[in-house]
Amino acid sequence: MENSQEQILSEVTGSEYKYGFTTDIETELIPAGLNEDIIRMISARKNEPEFMLEFRLKAYRHWKTMEMPRWAHLNIPPIDFQQIIYYAAPKSRPNPKSLDEVDPELLRTFEKLGIPLEEQKQLAGVAVDVVMDSVSVKTTFKETLAELGVIFCSMSEAIREHPDLVKKYLGSVVPYTDNFFASLNSAVFSDGSFCYIPKGVRCPMELSTYFRINAANTGQFERTLIVAEDDSYVSYLEGCTAPMRDEHQLHAAVVEIVALDNAEVKYSTVQNWYPGDKHGQGGIYNFVTKRGICKGDNSKISWTQVETGSAITWKYPSCILKGDNSVGEFYSVAVTNNFQQADTGTKMIHIGKNTRSTIISKGISAGYGQNSYRGLVKVTKNAAGVRNFTQCDSLLLGDKCGAHTFPYLEVENDTAIIEHEATTSKISEDQIFYCNQRGLDNETAVGLIVNGYAREVLNKLPMEFAVEAQKLLQISLEGSVG
């Protein structure tokens, strides 16, 4: 038993990162380092209006006064922010009008990733915005969406063509002063996706952004803004991969969501940045600020995330439940294998009356992985009738890994009902034995048990993503019986 376990474990840890290829594509880079000139350069390259440059500079000046936070349960080697290239773009014509104009090498990249970028794959029914390194390369289904008034485009395009909307909402949920990495992002973000759903529109297809870091020594800083007007609905997907490199690369994104009266936004992430090799060499630092505000009454924001990649993950997709009767949800599966570290969770800030939130977090640690859940449920004084349910479970596979929970419950209203529960355990020998008895080998059994364990969250993902996520889980963990 022991031997076979070790064999399986080594197989698993030896399994290659599937998306580790690099694309040989001409890339336009700016010099490494960060100063006001670099920011002016980024802004100029993107032909941004004056207000954006001001926003960036304000953010940069604020960032300079800040220190990198150290409170997370993470071991982060020092990051030299002057060694990073803050802008890298695939060198093709800036605004491809059709697929023919996109670099074929780039298209092959996305084919390898299995992204239905080509419009012929209409059946997939997903509108995709692809961000490579820092620049959005192609948005599909734009016309179909435009008919309904839905705006789905790259952030640079939105800044140029919908400056009023951008001006109104950018930084309204995550201000440029919010935290170290959000400030950095506000200063240097190069692209991202923008999505606007007008009043009463139910977006007919899943909107999706695929992020890819390709160039070496670059950081990726994208910014996503989703605005859902009254009575609208949108489901948004986000996926990410990166090549295998020995050095660490920084990814510091900001996602902002605004949901007005009766609007519903569903945001799903399958995060599969390169996690580093089995000795902890290389991998992406994924330091992300994601926050949504339920501004209107009866609105709803739902975060679903499957985190299998990145050397270090540090993110807390949060909901500010401001509108009465608004709902916040957070479903998460986070896997840390080898030397991966994750400190992730959510914040539910209840401000409106009768607001409800659900948090389901499933952590899985294997190898030397350190997995932390950190969450805050805050009920402010005037938020009457609040209901929260939190469940965070941890599964430990292997005796070198760790699982930690840091939940904060802050309640200032007596009508609130807040429940939190958490468990930590390993896969029991009984469970394995039961499966063995029925003819399943250890590897299949663990896969089955882990998938069952994560099912509650995977079920919340749109179908296409759920399949991918399930496969990812299998790849990262199969057979690692502790």
């Binding site: 430990l396 930690h404 958490a422 468990t423 930590t424």
Partner: protein, 454 residues
Amino acid sequence: MDSESHTYELKNEFIKLYQQNADFLNSNSGPLMNEFRPKAFDDFVKLGIPTTKNEAYKYTHIEEYLKGNYEVEFSVDPFRINLKEIFKCDIPDLDTYVVLMLNGSYYYDNQMPSLPDGIIVCGLNEASVRYPEIFRMHYGKYADTATDGLIALNTLFAYDGVFIYIPDKMTIEKPLQIINISYSFRNLRITRRNLIVAGSGSSCNIVFCDHTLCAHNYTTNSLTEIFAAQDANIEVTRIQNENSLSSHISHTFFHQEERSSVTSNTISLHGGLIRNNFFARLNGTGCESNHYGLFMGDDNQHIANFTYINHAMPNCTSNQLFKGILDENATGAFNGKIYVSKDAQKTLAYQKNSNLLLSPAARMNSKPHLEIYADDVKCSHGATIGSIDAEAMFYLRSRGITEKEARQLLMYAFAYEIINKINIEVLRDRIIDLVDRRLRGELSRCNNCHIHCQ
């Protein structure tokens, strides 16, 4: 002025206070105690008073309670009042060895004629001179002054407290009852330092009662180190009942060796600020460590419980259950931590915190926290915050019980889970009575106390 500069001022105040009294402290306490002062001083200078930026004190503005006009009484020979005349524990049929403590010092006239042979109960200062071997082995060994400014502060000003030693294989049938009395004609800062050493295979039951006998402000910084040798069995029950002007910070350190069993049960009935820090290090295999707490707050009281259960060795079990009932403007905090080190396989660790909020202004912050580095473990934690269950209320009301009585019944049922863990029957009955009256809003002062606290 922001709170940080307040804290800074307060820190300097304490430093000055120490410098003024260092000679007196050092010449009146045993050398084994004085040995710890220089390091405690350095640590305090480094750490200062914990602010809310300190994760462990995030929800407790400790400096608010420590500042103000206080006098300090550094006297190993407190004024000789006849304590027995003004105070008598009124729990009927509670048969204990009573040890009185006055303002942090061991009361000179404690008499325990029938104490079994070999058991030592005396003042800490006295013990440091008379029993240097035991003292040297344990004093300051579990409470690390480098971890918390308040621990450093306690070690810095420590001069007396109670010392208990139970030899190997000895069982004391009767509980030892330590009654901490604050009695003075002015506001007072009190530092109390206790040391309890239980030999292997020994068994004892210790009851601490905290009382204030005057309506003055008291800030107490009390620290107890408890050593449980192999197979030792220690039960500690603490009843905290002080006036609402008083602030009480208590640190309890349990150091457990193989197969030892420790149960602490803390009933916080009343007090302006109550901050209890529990640390347990399970330093041998097969240990059991249980920590229970019940706290009730109203008015502007603040009650905070902090736990840190360190599973350093395999095959240990720990349980934590803390329940709070908060009314009016009371605020509560629970900050619990289970740490399972990478060698501590087969650990079972449970933690639960439940809270009732009875008024719109009452507030509760809870942070149940797990840090686990071993895989073959079963750990769980849970926390709930809510008001009285409307359905349960309706059930009782529909059976003709008045709203007030139904509420009382439900609160009592909520509290009973903790009270029921107390093994001394007469004490349990007494606490049931105290809690019942406390929940009815009657100040549950002991019956024949002459002093009418506010």
